[in-house]
């Protein structure tokens, strides 16, 4: 099994032993009022946005007697003028302010954390509320910024990732990534494999010219390499859920399916490539795909067909993207040039507005290795 047979996981548990005991038996963290207040503070921050960090102090005793309607009282607190004009407030069990001050917090993460922890003594619990609704707490002089299995830093990095609305920005950055040798090399046949290809196919020809003329050759089945590369880039840079290939009822598969973090809307990306790949045996070119008819009209029809099918299956598809990796030998115009509604059958044209052809993802083997 995943955990009990996993020495690494058990080693991690042993390391975190103290944190686990504190979390499950310190008389505060495991209680209902504490967990409720933690959730309420984050929700209030989401509803009442502001750019300042806030410190909310409450005694353990008051916390244990947290009022029943704390959700309403907390909203009142977040809109209270004293709260808005003071960085630090001390509240009672009904979340009314008992004391406040506007002293600045120390500069620097570590100094600030030490300061917050120093306030969390004498049975006081300190909640630190960030503008992005992350809530950390300090208690018994300790900093509880991290979960047992995640750190505050990784949570901050995650919250800073882009949302589905920013997909195109992320893909523009990915285009830049594709110009880096470490990224593009994986798509192309290596120099040594090209030399082998040369000696098998046409040893009489000049090797250097052969290598130059064939450096654009893609590895066999490049679609899988492209799909995984772009999928990983999206996963690592966006706050969305990238699920596995979705199988439609007719057994076609969507290459990449994306849903926003809430899981409300569906987007998908169909991946195609144009250029030339090497054959499976490595001694002759394999497939060559050109912009027409591969992209226009075939891929356009395919994507709009998928949109139609998803909508028929009551799936809330917003947009179907067509992403084309352009590995053609020459620098040619975008494969989407001239795509129009007339490329799809009449019965599917009603969905054409949900189709987006992304600008080509150019991959060039500038410095082969």
């Amino acid at each position: 099994m995943k955990f009990s047979d996993n020495p690494q996981f058990k080693g991690y548990l042993a390391e975190k032993k103290q944190d686990i005991y504190q979390r499950t038996s310190d008389g505060v963290q495991e209680t209902e009022p504490f967990q409720r207040l933690l959730s309420i503070l984050a929700e209030c921050r989401r509803k009442v946005e502001e750019q300042d960090f806030r410190l909310i102090l409450i005694s353990k005793e008051d916390l244990s007697r947290l009022c029943f309607d704390a959700d309403t009282k907390a909203m009142n607190l977040f809109r209270n003028a004293t709260f808005l004009t003071n960085r630090t407030v001390l509240v009672g069990s009904d979340l009314t302010i008992q004391n406040s001050n506007n002293d600045p917090f120390p500069d620097g993460d570590n100094d600030a954390r030490r300061f917050f922890a120093s306030l969390a003594t004498n049975d006081m619990v300190v909640f630190h509320v960030a503008p992005n609704a992350m809530v950390h707490f300090f208690m018994d002089g300790n900093d509880y910024g991290d979960g047992i299995f995640y750190t505050r830093d990784s949570l901050t990095r995650y919250e800073e990732r882009r949302t589905i609305e920013q997909l195109r920005e992320v893909l523009d950055e990915y285009r830049i990534e594709l110009t880096r040798q470490n990224t593009y090399l994986k798509f192309f046949v290596t120099k040594s494999a090209l030399r082998a290809f040369h000696s098998l196919a046409c040893p009489e020809k000049d090797e250097r010219t052969f290598l130059e003329n064939h450096k654009h050759l893609l590895n066999n089945k490049p679609e899988e390499l492209f799909r995984e590369d772009i999928r990983n880039y999206i996963k690592n840079h966006m706050k969305i859920v990238v699920t596995r290939e979705e199988t439609l009822e007719n057994l076609d598969r969507l290459d990449i399916e994306l849903t926003d973090e809430d899981g409300q809307d569906l987007y998908f990306i169909e991946i195609k490539w144009v250029g030339e790949s090497i054959g499976l045996s490595g001694d002759r070119p394999g497939k060559e795909f050109k912009a027409q008819p591969r992209i226009k009209p075939d891929a356009v029809k395919q994507v709009v067909g998928y949109i139609d099918e998803l909508l028929k299956e009551d799936k809330n598809v917003k947009i179907g993207y067509l992403a084309v990796f352009d590995a053609r030998k020459e620098d040619l115009e975008d494969t989407g040039t001239g795509i129009s509604e007339s490329d799809v059958p009449e019965n599917l044209r009603k969905h054409f507005h949900r189709f987006v052809k992304l600008p080509d993802f150019r991959v060039k083997n500038i410095n082969p290795r």
């Binding site: 995943k2 955990f3 548990l13 495991e30 409720r36 959730s39 929700e43 899981g263």
Partner: protein
């Protein structure tokens, strides 16, 4: 149990869940979240209880947006049409009446609070990620089954949770302070770590 009786019970469940969700600051809840929350309440139930699953009447199938139960849908439709809830079936719903709230067993209420408090720590927007990472749901998606998701005692989620607990028991000298609910909470902490690190 007749369809009408099932619907009446579901109405009480849904009203109670929405009322208790408000207590953790969720003033309104999306209908998708409600489907997901009821699913988690059902699939995790037997980890903490030895009696019959209190959510036995809910039958879930796989959709792109998570588990779906027709009973939850029908109950929401009924509660909206009778104005006990405000909102719409494809969006957010919120309370407009106290009818039916807490008219369920104490144990069931407590269990609802356990799950809501765990989810509340991460926020409503993360519930979908937990669903996608749920072993039983994942298994159902992989198998591409359109029939009911297995939520009985042999379900994959319970197997994984039991193994998670076993790792704690075999590593820590004393686990007597860790309740079953805490194990679920720690497991979600683990899942959340996996989600944000995109492991």
């Amino acid at each position: 149990m007749s369809n009408k009786e099932e619907l009446m019970l579901a109405n009480a469940d849904i009203m109670t869940i929405i009322a208790h969700a408000k207590r953790i600051g969720w003033d309104s809840v999306s209908t998708n979240t409600l489907q997901r929350v009821v699913y988690l309440m059902k699939v995790l139930y037997s980890f903490c209880h030895s009696d019959e699953n209190e959510f036995v009447q809910y039958h879930f199938s796989v959709t792109v947006f998570g588990p779906y139960s027709d009973l939850v849908y029908k109950s929401l439709a009924f509660l909206l049409s009778s104005q006990r809830l405000l909102g719409d079936l494809d969006g957010e719903v919120r309370l407009n009446s106290s009818d039916g709230i807490d008219s369920i067993s104490e144990d069931k209420k407590k269990w609802m609070d356990v799950i809501l408090l765990i989810l509340g720590k991460y926020g409503e927007s993360k519930v979908f990620s937990f669903i996608v990472n749920d072993p039983q749901y994942d298994q159902a998606v992989k198998a591409n089954i359109s029939s009911e998701i297995n939520t009985d005692l042999e379900n994959d989620t319970l197997k994984v949770l039991n193994d998670f607990k076993k790792a704690f028991e075999e590593t820590l000298t004393d686990t007597s302070t860790i309740s079953e609910e805490e194990y679920i909470s720690l497991y979600f902490d683990y899942l959340f770590g996996q989600i944000i690190e995109k492991k």
